[in-house]
């Protein structure tokens, strides 16, 4: 059954047709949410909210549109809403210590030890960035948004986006070097 056929069945009220969509997209979406929020439990909650919102909003999805990019937008907005909420800001001073490593350290069959180590260090380095830098670099690198699109999403000028990306990349490089990773580890 194609993705669109599953979506149509969901629209007809067959909730079980949503399961393959959830299973296909939950891994990357959880990774994205955890990177955005810097907290695995908060990310899991955000992911559930995003899936529920997506299910209820399937009627808005244009015929034959792919589910993935549309769902990623929902995940992004859910995470941004959570980051704006005072509750999360009070709870998590986003530091390496605050990062719940469970998100990144559960083994999968295909991942090598080295890539798991890099992933862990990168996740920790990302979590140490200020919220606005972390979100900006994720919107650019993971979603591939242009500076203008990021500026619209975050409600800041394009120049601010460029400046945040500059700072975020410099800070990431410093933190990765501090963890003993050099350019050769990343290439």
């Amino acid at each position: 059954m194609t993705e669109w056929e599953l979506i149509q069945r969901c629209r007809e009220g067959k909730t079980s047709a949503f399961e393959p969509l959830v299973r296909a997209h939950e891994g990357p979406a959880l990774g994205y949410a955890a990177a955005m929020l810097g907290d695995a439990d908060e990310a899991a909650d955000a992911l559930q909210d995003a899936f529920v919102q997506a299910y209820r909003g399937l009627a808005r999805l244009r015929p034959n549109s792919p589910f993935g990019p549309w769902f990623r937008t929902i995940v992004r907005n859910t995470c941004l809403d959570r980051l704006r909420s005072p509750r999360l800001r009070q709870r998590t001073a986003l530091t390496a210590a605050a990062l719940d490593e469970r998100t990144w350290t559960e083994p999968t069959a295909v991942r090598s030890t080295e890539s798991m180590g890099l992933t862990k260090h990168l996740a920790a380095a990302l979590a140490e960035l200020p919220d606005e830098q972390r979100v900006t670099i994720l919107l650019r690198e993971v979603e591939g948004l242009s500076y203008a699109e990021i500026a619209t999403t975050l409600g800041v000028p394009s120049g601010t986006v460029a400046s945040r990306l500059n700072h975020a990349r410099a800070a990431l490089r410093e933190r990765l070097v501090a963890r003993g990773l050099g350019p050769e580890d990343l290439s």
């Binding site: 079980s16 949503f18 939950e26 990357p28 899991a44 998100t103 083994p107 990349r169 990343l186």
Partner: protein
Amino acid sequence: MNTHPRDLLSAYADGELDAAQTAAVAAHLTRCTECAREVALIRSVGGAMRQMINDAPRRGVWDTVHRRITRPVGWTLILAGIAIWAGLLLVEWYRSRALSWEWIGGTAFWVGAVMLVIGVAWEQYRDWQTTRYKDVTR
């Protein structure tokens, strides 16, 4: 461009510079291994970030999501039961102009019992519909 254009490298790697700036930075990169390495590093970190996201393990959120998207029938059945019970009381009142406590209590009991059976049957049906082993035969 003789000095290192460090402030432009990030935007260059993202393809966000205008044509003149892009050409100037590109020309500089052919001469400067330090800046070329910096651009390569920016791209590598971006790639590693995407891989990190795509390789993130699943946590199995389907059960929770499923519970949340499936409307619970409990309240619907309770409201339906009360409506049916009130309807029966009205009909009986219209018919006989008298209602005994025994009749009121008995009707409430039987309407409640029927709603309970419907609720349990519905939950069983829903569980059966969503179990991933229903098509497995011995």
